[in-house]
């Protein structure tokens, strides 16, 4: 589809909210409220309209490609290359590319559609808010980030959106950051998400390493065509020779578990769900949009997006399903007893997200995603309804249902939409939740071969979900009956201080219906809560939905009998009716049973009131540990780094500076004294005689000497080192001397060049009778004549040269090998080869230079002179030497 002109508009879907966010963020403070919400609402509305047009186009493509199952109907637009990675000629390009297929198309419509309604609602709900522009800038930025998340064609681009929505979530939870508790809730959300993001990054790179691409389409194709590569054990290190192998953990399992860790953070599952209930600190429209309808479902979206990979990892699927089911139960049980509207809805969201994860974990990707879609309508409607109630009674984020009641007659629209949504979430027949919840139950019933390693898993999850569904129906209708039926119980008590700003004017009046900006979105969402299911379902099953999503999702063989859908539906209906009826009996009729139950199980009740005390558990375990770590690190820094290391260094510097600053004391006479002393020392050094002889290379036995010149120096030389000077004092520093043989024989020197590479010649001056010590290492590897005889040669000096007894060593004179162990004598100027080493015999003299200055002081120095000069060479390179490679 590249190059298709219309696909460019995909970019515009993202761009409109982004520009809206920029305009409101930069200029909103100066602009009026009308301009701010015009920009905010219009940008999302434009995105929604374009998304609708694109979706219509997608439907056309989809119908066209139905006959050909290979072709996946997508609209895509490659905006530009973001960056590319190259590794040894292999280049991995990461473009900014937007793709709308069946999956992301539905998500885009939900985000822009529900986002638009919530933007409109917010213009009413937030009308008294001082930071009006900031709110809408964040909300638009969130919409743009969420659209990048779903439309991004690759994991990195999705991750940009993933982080973007996390940021906006943080900003909006802490929107009223003057309140310390709210700011804390924002931080908690951010930190919990950060843990998950770490998993996403690891999973992303693991997948890219195995599949060779970051693009979803490539990864999914790879998973379908090269499944064995993904189902092999995780191995770290170079291909073929890994240094670490994890047997039993496949690449698919590892990567999907990492990704799922990210999903538990973003989509509020165990163990990272704790931030979502606190996230209700944000304004209610934010709770509706971000923390119910869109952002928190992105984990399910990610799993569906990569469903072919997840399908290869049954163990991960089991973990997902179990996590989802347990979270569903946990959320539902807490929801049973809470009294705050938003708390109940928050735990309900945690619970419903658990249902979705249980579904995708059981391989029912379509069912899980269907619930994402229907849940978006009714949960957004419930939250907005709750917001409307709080607006009406003047509560700010903490409406206690025990103080409400009878709101039906004060706010009819809110009441009707709330009732419809409650029916939908309870799974009442004919409402949207009914279809999706039944499909989830059916998915848990028909896991087929997926959990062949644990056959009990499917039925267990089914049981937990059934229980969860029953409780859902119960707590939702408890909420409904207590809020809207009976008599109004006076509303929340007000403190004098109300930072929301519009509490007082309502406090002493009866509740009233909210303005049209709020009720119209409620009505539309309520209508969606009924009708959203019908678009996609047939009778008792949702064939059209499955068919629509089929190209985008992995196919898992669902084996169920013809009766299974009806069994699922039966259980679903039972859960719904039992829950609603119990709530009706307990709270509409005003039964004493809840109080009795509470009295009968006080500890269980307080445990549920305290939300299973998970926060407290984290407080003492993880937070306690990290506080200990912080305490330890701070102490280490304070006492070891600052105390010991810094203190020692500073004391050292202090001592040095104390000594040196004595010289820089600012006293002129002290400087003068130092200068005088320095001048004296320098003068003494310059005037004192320094004999520094040098010589040119000898020509035969003729040597030219020279000496360094000095102030008023005269020189004399003792060439043969016999103690008597051979020249008179002369102003000429140069001299030369022709040595006679007799002069040379004053010393014998063995110059030994070892075989080891890089060893320089070693000069040993030997007195007659003295022995030259050699080692095997000096002689090189092939020094022995006979492998058995490893006695080293003996080299002893006499008056005219050296005497060599070869013993076991290979000794050569010139290029001829000495036969046998025969003593030989080397005279001055001769040389022999022992093993790979070279031995030269040469004479040495110790000439002496004497220097005198103008004051008559004398200085003298002796030095070594080796004659005749030794020609250095590499012995191993001598051709024709037996046993030595040339």
């Amino acid at each position: 589809m590249n190059g298709d002109l219309d696909s460019k508009w995909l970019f515009a879907i993202v761009l409109f909210p982004l520009v809206g966010a920029l305009v409101n963020g930069l200029f909103g403070r100066k602009a009026g409220r009308g301009a701010v919400h015009f920009v905010a609402v219009a940008s999302v509305a434009m995105a929604f309209v374009i998304a609708l047009v694109m979706f219509k186009k997608l439907i056309g493509l989809h119908a066209h490609s139905l006959g050909n199952s290979e072709e996946h109907a997508v609209l895509s637009f490659n905006a530009y290359e973001w960056f590319s990675l190259s590794n040894g000629g292999q280049t991995l390009s990461i473009p900014v590319k937007f793709v709308m297929d069946e999956l992301s198309g539905v998500m885009t419509l939900v985000i822009t559609g529900i986002g638009l309604l919530i933007h409109i609602y917010s213009t009413g709900y937030m009308s008294e808010e001082p930071s009006y522009a900031r709110f809408f800038a964040y909300l638009n930025l969130f919409t743009a980030s969420m659209l990048i998340l779903v439309l991004g064609s690759s994991l990195p681009l999705m991750f940009v959106g993933w982080e973007g929505v996390g940021l906006c979530s943080y900003l909006l939870i802490g929107f009223w950051f003057e309140n310390e508790a709210y700011a804390k809730a924002g931080r908690k959300a951010f930190v919990a998400n950060r843990i998950g993001d770490f998993g996403v990054i690891l999973g992303m790179f693991l997948l890219a390493v195995v599949c060779g691409s970051f693009e979803f389409a490539d990864i999914n194709r790879f998973a379908m065509e090269h499944a064995p590569a993904l189902t092999s054990a995780v191995a770290l290190g170079p291909k073929g020779t890994p240094f670490l192998v994890f047997p039993g953990i496949t690449f698919a399992t590892a990567a999907t578990l990492f990704l799922f860790l990210g999903c538990t953070g973003k989509s509020a599952q165990l163990p990272l769900y704790v931030w979502l209930p606190d996230a209700m600190a944000g304004p209610t429209p934010v709770s509706a949009l971000i923390h119910a309808a869109t952002m928190v479902t992105s984990g399910i979206y990610l799993i569906c997006r990569l469903s072919p990979v997840f399908a290869l990892a049954p163990h991960t699927m089991a973990v997902i399903a179990l996590t989802g089911a347990v979270t569903a139960l946990l959320g539902a049980t807490v929801g049973l007893v809470q009294n705050d509207i938003k708390k109940i809805l928050a735990y309900s969201t945690v619970s419903q997200l658990g249902f979705m994860f249980a579904a995708v974990g059981c391989g029912a990707f379509a069912a899980g995603f269907m619930h994402v879609y229907t849940h978006a309508f009714f949960k957004a409607c419930l939250f907005l309804g709750a917001g409307s109630v709080m607006h009406a009674v003047g509560a700010h984020g903490d409406a206690d249902i025990r103080t409400l009641g009878g709101l039906r007659k004060y706010m009819p629209t809110t009441h009707w939409t709330f009732l419809v949504s409650c029916l939908a979430i309870a799974g009442f027949p004919g409402f949207s939740g009914f279809f999706s919840k039944d499909e989830i139950l059916l998915g848990a019933l028909s896991t087929g071969q997926l959990f062949s390693f644990a056959p009990w898993l499917g039925p267990t999850i089914f049981g937990m979900l059934f229980l969860g569904a029953t409780m859902t129906a119960f707590y939702m209708f408890r909420l409904y009956f207590l809020t809207f039926c009976g008599e109004y119980r006076g509303g929340p008590h007000h403190d004098d201080h109300d930072d929301h700003g519009h509490g007082d004017e309502h406090a002493h009046h009866d509740p009233h219906e909210s303005p049209a900006q709020m009720t119209v979105p409620l009505a539309i969402l309520g209508f969606g809560a009924i009708a959203a299911g019908y678009v996609w379902v047939g009778i008792a099953h949702f064939e059209p939905w499955v068919k629509w999503l089929a190209p985008a999702l992995a196919e898992l063989k669902e084996e169920h009998g013809a009766t299974a859908p009806f069994i699922a539906m039966g259980f679903g209906l039972t859960a719904c009716f039992v829950g609603i009826f119990t709530a009706y009996a307990f709270y509409f009729k005003g039964s004493e049973t809840p109080a009795k139950l509470q009295a009968a199980f006080p500890r269980l009740h307080s445990l549920l009131m305290d939300k299973w005390r998970v926060d407290e558990l984290y407080e003492v375990t993880i937070l306690g540990f990290s506080r200990f770590l912080a305490w330890f690190a701070a102490g280490f820094d304070k006492y070891v780094v600052d105390g010991l290391i810094t203190e020692v260094t500073s004391q050292l510097v202090m001592v040095c500076s104390f000594i040196t600053t004595r010289f820089q004391n600012g006293l002129i006479h002290s400087y003068g004294a130092i200068m005088a002393a320095g001048t004296l020392a320098l003068t003494f050094y310059v005037v004192a005689p320094h004999p520094r002889p040098s010589m040119a290379d000898p020509e035969g036995l003729k040597v030219k000497f020279d000496a360094e010149h000095g102030l008023a120096y005269t020189y004399r030389w003792d060439f043969d080192g016999d103690g008597k000077f051979d020249t008179e004092w002369s102003e000429d520093a140069a001299a030369q001397h022709q040595y006679a043989d007799a002069e040379l024989k004053r010393g014998v020197v063995a110059v030994f060049e070892g075989a080891a590479y890089g060893r320089s010649a070693e000069l040993s001056e030997l007195k007659p009778g003295e022995r030259l010590h050699v080692s095997k290492r000096d002689l090189g590897p092939a020094w022995q004549v006979d492998a058995k005889d490893d006695s080293l040669p003996s080299i002893v000096a006499d008056a005219t040269g050296v005497l060599i007894q070869p013993n076991g060593a290979r000794v050569m004179l010139g290029t001829t090998l000495q036969p046998g162990n025969v003593k030989m004598h080397l005279a001055l100027g001769e040389h022999a080869t022992i093993g790979d080493a070279r031995l030269s015999v040469t004479g040495v003299v110790h000439p002496r230079l004497s220097v005198r200055n103008a004051f008559g002081q004398e200085g003298a120095r002796s030095f070594d002179l080796v004659l005749p000069k030794v020609e250095s060479r590499i012995v191993a390179a001598v051709a024709g030497v037996p046993g030595v490679a040339p």
Binding site: N665, G666, L667, I668, H669, G672, A673, A676
Partner: protein, 102 residues
């Protein structure tokens, strides 16, 4: 007794030594300046003495004039500094010239 070059040099070295020691041990800036003058003049004495024994182009006398000019300039600058130092500290004690210390 014939007066030789050595006598001139010995006198010059003595004067130079008196100047140097005076410069190092006295704390009165004016005395220190005078000590500097002493050292400069001892050098002048060696110059003219050398000139007497090597009078070819009177280099020694030439250099002595140079030194006298430099000494005059030095005295002018030095006295100006001493004057402003005195205005600042109401003393000419060189130990008190420690504004840059620490």
């Amino acid at each position: 007794m014939q007066i030789e070059l050595g006598h001139f040099l010995a006198l010059s070295a003595t004067i130079f030594g008196i100047g140097a020691i005076g410069f190092l041990v006295r704390r009165n800036v004016l005395v220190q300046l005078m000590s500097i003058e002493l050292m400069l003049n001892s050098v002048n004495l060696t110059f003219v003495a050398f000139n007497r024994y090597a009078p070819q182009n009177h280099l020694g006398q030439l250099f002595a004039f140079f030194v006298i000019a430099v000494a005059a300039a030095e005295a002018a600058v030095g006295l100006a500094i001493v004057l402003s130092f005195f205005r600042l500290r109401k003393t000419v004690h060189s130990d008190r010239a420690d504004t840059l210390k620490n």
